[in-house]
């Protein structure tokens, strides 16, 4: 690996000042499971790593009246153990359970997954579905960016030099809502999504009609996508396979996948539709409180 | 008498026969006799003092480590095959 400096600030102020001092040549280090590998491959050669794991604001995992706050450095293993997340933000748990293996989940954070800005990031579709908003701190203060607008290209995002993702916050989940994430991978674990779909639905009291739905897509475009229209056309519609198929069709229309070692363009378009339907079905089942078992990879 | 089987590429030298009986008590003797009767065969199978690289001789069902020195019994079959390795 190339030579670099390592800093371990204990406050946000200190972290921002270190970022500023390194003048765009530093990268924040959370779990490091992408970054360290990419540095070993020479893909990134930052002059310094700013380890953000000791900063309180980046380690928050709690709910308040505004909803759920997930600090950018919180590792997946903490998220999957958090009771409220398990009850209400299940898509996020689904994602965090399958990012890498268990060892990776001990380190990898959702914030890091987002900042790495890979098109196939497993948590991002769930963040989009759950209406996540990025809280970004920088020299000019704090700003908020919806997750679906955070990534701008493969490995690229809206963060400006000196800025740091502090947390992702989610609005409280309405009653009768449910969410799910799943992906298609050739193996059953330890793989990069060929297609990943996250969806959150809110039903009416009867559990038969969809009030609102949001669908996030991964690995089918240069960035994770918000399938806005696919979600919108479900609003007010019965929660049934006919509607799910309509949503799937709409989702297929907005994807622009590539052919690579993980799958062909045609395959990805096809599977986008398949997974949107399956994920909606599961999210609806969860919203209704129905028993729903799901084996990752199957 | 030992029966020697020819690789298909050499069969035209021996009138298209798949195998023929050939006297001899070692592979070397059998090959010498074969060459005498069907000139050109030896060049296909031998190089210098031994079998061509990558070639093995199978006598009486066993791949020989002795090559041309391998004794041949009166009822043995002699085959020339690619040397087998393994993983």
């Amino acid at each position: 690996m190339h030579d670099f400096d390592y800093e371990r600030p204990v406050s946000l102020v200190e972290a921002l000042s270190l970022m500023a001092r390194h003048n765009g040549h530093a990268r924040p280090l959370a779990g490091g499971t992408d970054l360290i590998d990419q540095m070993r491959l020479g893909r990134h050669q930052p002059g310094a790593l700013i380890d953000v794991k000791r900063i309180a604001e980046l380690n928050v995992l709690a709910a308040d009246a505004d909803g759920l706050h997930v600090g950018a450095a919180v590792p997946c293993c903490r998220i999957v153990e958090q009771p409220l997340v398990n009850q209400q933000y299940t898509a996020l748990v689904d994602s965090c359970r399958i990012i890498g293996g268990i060892q990776i989940q001990s380190r990898a954070s959702v914030g890091g997954n987002l900042c790495n800005s890979g098109p196939a990031a497993d948590s991002t579709p769930s963040l989009i579905a759950l209406q996540g908003v990025c809280v970004i701190a920088g020299p000019a203060g704090t700003r908020r960016v919806p997750v679906e607008r955070f990534c701008t290209g493969p490995g690229q995002n809206v963060l400006q030099p000196g800025e740091l993702l502090v947390e992702i916050c989610f609005p409280p989940r309405p009653p009768h809502s449910g969410s799910h994430y799943r992906r298609l991978i050739p193996r059953n674990e330890m793989d990069i999504a060929v297609v990943g779909v996250g969806a959150a639905v809110e039903l009416d009291e009867s559990g038969r009609t969809i009030r609102a739905a949001r669908i996030g897509l991964g690995a089918v475009a240069p960035t994770p996508l918000w399938a806005e229209e696919a979600g919108a056309l479900l609003a007010g519609q019965p929660a049934d396979d006919v509607q799910f198929a309509r949503a799937a069709e709409a989702a297929r229309k907005i994807v622009s996948p590539i052919t690579d070692m993980r799958g062909t363009r045609e395959y990805r378009i096809h599977v986008t539709g398949v997974l949107v339907q399956r994920v909606l079905r599961a999210a609806v089942a969860r919203a209704r409180g129905e028993a729903f078992t799901y084996l990752p990879g199957h | 008498m030992p029966r020697v089987f020819l690789p298909p590429a050499l069969r035209s030298l021996a009138g298209g026969q798949e195998s023929l009986e050939m006297p001899g008590s070692t592979v070397r003797e059998i090959l010498a006799e074969l060459e005498r009767r069907h000139p050109g065969v030896q060049a296909g199978l031998c190089q210098g003092d031994g079998l061509r690289p990558g070639l093995a001789v199978c006598v009486g069902g066993a791949v020989s480590t002795l090559g041309l020195l391998q004794p041949v019994g009166p009822d043995d079959e002699v085959h020339f095959l690619p040397a087998i390795g393994g993983g």
Binding site: N188 | P7, P8, R11, V63, E77, H79, G86, G87
Partner: protein
């Protein structure tokens, strides 16, 4: 099934804890990568970013100027080889090709091809220096596909390659021009035209399989010290210390005796750790620096620059009568050898029809150079490819004729006396018994219910080799025996060898202490490969034990003052006249008073194995919307001859099956247009994880091999052969799609499924 319920053995067939086990579960065992020497330098390789290019120039000055860099070497430091072909233990090698593969000379022939190497104070400096070596390339058009490479207008890799035909002097029409077709094999039996004329049904298809890697978890490594006295010591992970020594000596053009290879523990090989890559380079760096130098590959290097097994294109045709008897078979097989000649296509040709009695057959094979790494052995080299082709065609025939696929196999199975298409006649073999075992298995007898589920069966064959082994064994005063061997232990063979020595001496397996030693400390021993160690090194151990028996008899005779002929060695006891008796331990205590040390030795060189067969049964479930396959249940029946340590026999069977599952479903070298492998990581290469597979049920069939004193057959390789075909057959029975391309990955399978519903 020929299971031995009244087996005469005391040690063989039991399951003792392996002798090296404690070291391996505590992290104490020293593997090649664990080598540390005082003053040791770390090396890094400079590798080609191009699949095919001419090297215009190499400038090492910047790298040499970096502080902490101690030496840089290129092919200019390697001795010239000229036109030499040398026997290297497992087959002959053209030294010109071999040396160019170690460090490229005028051309690079695949991405990852080594061009130069650096030694430095630590690995980070070495890697940085490697990036500072400036190599100017003239990029050439690569050719990646075997059929493309066979075309007349294909880019040519090696100017010195002309087509060589098995058993024929070079005679192609235009031998003045170089070609990528290095070898041509032809086997014929009977009259193929006549055979097909007798057939009521002829099925013919083409098949493609992707290049795949052995995938051992431990990367290649070598630590070398070129001492001031000219002696070279190499510490490394290798399947064969003696072939590693010979290759290194030939590549460096030094006497073989001046190289000592110390085999460290080895983290998997499967055929891929027979060829040397790093030792000569580490040795050259050591000579330049006067210090020990360690080289270790990255995982990407392992994928890109070692010896995977070829991709293939095959055309196969089989004719049968209405009642299901094979009348003729024909196969055309082309393997991509990688950058230099030497694919196992000859062996593939010999395996393709081996499971069956084919009265009329013709097999043609081609060894073809392409811009991929030089291929090497991988577990039953060549046999898995052809099993995929023949066994799926057999399944299709059975379906068309309404025959049970196992009954069809029983009807046509090779057995003792069957003449192979390549000529020889099979000795006693167990093909029939493995089919019967599966037919009678609980798995095959149970129904399989549910949508998109299917069951498939397939059989497979592998030769197993004999080759050469040496063993010495020393009797200790306490009645234990120290066993010295040269077979590197990849999967518990110390124990399977020790058990045969123990059985022969009539002592406990725990009373034998086996050690694998370096090339100066034991007689020549061939590679741990070809499923040969438990067979051939086992024979050597039995010989050594018999040698000890003879000496123990003489010592007892001396003590009893009787003629040695009056002493009998029986099951760990020495029996003399008039009820005189010693146990082995009792007599061992006396050896210093009766003439000194007792050392037994044994070798094996002439024994040929009878061959191994296996039959597999698998249930799958296919997701028809995504093309993804789940393995629900898997049973393997295999002829092990006599299972020495059943746990490790089962382990070989289970491990081979799961490698076969990986080959079947997801593993492949995925190249882009520029000839770059885009999935050179474990993440994207996708070996099966434990979450991808079920328990693998094993049925050990025992048809003893008469060539071995205890009837051992090698078990390591054949289990990898049937899985792709068995799974393909199961997929067909699940969703009605015949897969003729590997891997049967979700995108590949889905496209076939969608096509079927379009048609």
């Amino acid at each position: 099934m020929a299971t031995a319920d009244k087996r005469p053995y005391k040690v063989i067939g039991t399951r003792p804890v392996r002798h090296d086990g404690a070291d391996k579960v505590t992290g104490r065992a020293k593997y090649g990568g664990d080598m540390r020497l005082t003053g040791m330098l770390y090396g890094a390789m400079v590798r080609s970013p191009h699949a095919h290019a001419r090297i215009v120039s190499i400038d090492t000055s910047q790298a040499e100027a970096l502080p902490g860099v101690r030496a840089v070497v290129t092919s200019a430091d390697m001795p010239a080889q000229g036109d030499r072909v040398v026997e290297l233990g497992e087959g002959a090698a053209n030294m010109r090709h071999l040396t160019a593969n170690i460090l490229a000379r005028d051309k690079v022939l695949y991405r990852g091809h080594a061009v130069a190497a650096v030694a430095a104070d630590n690995v980070h400096i070495a890697e940085q220096a490697a990036r500072l070596v400036r190599v100017e390339y003239e990029v050439l058009q690569p050719v990646m596909n075997v059929l493309d490479a066979m075309r007349d207008d294909a880019p040519i890799l090696n100017d010195d390659v002309r087509t060589e035909s098995l058993g024929a002097a070079p005679q192609s029409p235009d031998q003045s021009r170089p070609t990528n077709i290095a070898k041509h094999f032809l086997f014929e039996k009977g009259d193929v035209a006549k055979g097909f004329a007798e057939a009521d049904l002829v099925i013919e298809h083409e098949f493609d399989t992707a290049m795949v890697h052995q995938g051992y978890i431990e990367p290649h490594n070598a630590t070398a010290l070129w001492n001031t006295d000219g002696r070279i010591t190499i510490w490394m992970s290798t399947q064969g210390s003696f072939t590693a020594r010979q290759q290194t000596a030939e590549l460096l053009r030094v006497p073989v005796s001046s190289v000592k290879v110390v085999p460290m523990e080895i983290g998997g090989g499967f055929g891929g750790k027979i060829s040397v890559y790093l030792p000569p380079v580490a040795a050259l760096l050591s000579r330049k620096t006067g210090r020990p130098v360690k080289l270790q590959m990255s995982r990407a290097d392992v994928f890109e620059a070692t010896g995977p097994t070829p991709g293939s294109h095959m055309r196969l045709k089989l004719g049968v009568t209405r009642d299901g008897r094979i009348t003729a078979g024909e196969a055309w097989i082309a393997f991509d050898a990688g950058a230099y000649p030497g694919s196992p296509v000859g062996m593939a040709c010999m395996c393709v029809f081996a499971c069956y009695d084919v009265p009329h057959g013709r097999v043609e094979g081609f060894d073809v150079c392409v811009n991929k790494p030089r291929t090497n052995a991988y577990r039953a080299p060549g046999s898995t490819h052809v099993a995929f082709a023949i066994e799926t065609i057999v399944d299709e025939i059975c379906e068309k004729l309404g025959l049970d696929p196992l009954e069809f196999r029983l009807k046509n199975a090779s057995r003792e006396g069957t003449r192979r298409v390549d000529g020889p006649v099979f000795p006693r073999i167990g093909m029939v018994e493995t089919v019967q075992a599966i037919r009678d298995s609980q798995h095959y007898q149970s129904p399989l219910a549910g949508p998109c589920r299917g069951r498939g069966v397939a059989s497979g064959f592998w030769f197993n080799v004999g080759m050469k082994s040496s063993v010495t064994a020393t009797v200790n005063l306490d009645g234990t025996v120290s066993l010295i061997e040269g077979s590197t232990d990849i999967g518990g063979t110390r124990t399977s060898i020790a058990m045969q020595l123990a059985e022969t001496l009539g002592i406990a397996a725990e009373d034998v202490n086996p050690t694998v030693v370096d090339t100066d400390s034991i007689g020549y021993t061939d590679v741990t490969g070809g499923s040969r160690v438990t067979f051939a090194t086992g024979i050597a151990a039995v010989e050594a034990a018999r040698d000890i028996q003879r000496q123990m008899v003489q010592r007892a005779a001396l003590l009893w003052d009787v003629d040695p002929a009056a002493v009998k060695y029986d099951d760990g006891r020495l029996l003399g006249p008039a009820g005189k008796q010693f146990t082995f331990k009792e007599l061992a205590a006396e050896i210093h008073q009766t003439g000194g040390p007792i050392i037994g030795s044994g070798t094996s060189s002439s024994a040929t194995q009878g061959g191994a067969f296996g039959t597999h049964c698998v249930d799958v479930e296919v997701d028809p919307e995504t093309g993804k396959v789940q393995i629900l249940r898997y049973t393997i029946a295999q002829d092990a001859g006599t299972a020495i340590h059943p746990s490790y026999v089962e382990g070989q069977m289970q491990g081979g099956v799961v490698q076969g599952i990986g080959w079947a479903l997801n593993e492949e070298y995925w190249y882009d247009d520029r000839g770059t492998m885009r999935n050179a990581t474990y993440l994207d290469y996708r070996l099966p994880t434990c979450y991808d597979v079920p328990m693998i049920e094993t049925m050990i069939v025992e048809v003893p091999d008469p060539q071995h004193p205890y009837g051992v057959r090698g078990v390591g390789e054949v289990p990898i052969c049937p899985p792709p075909a068995a799974i393909a057959n199961a997929i067909y029975h699940a969703v009605g799609v015949r897969m003729r391309r590997l891997p049967m990955s979700p995108p590949n399978l889905l496209s076939e499924i969608l096509q079927r519903f379009q048609d």
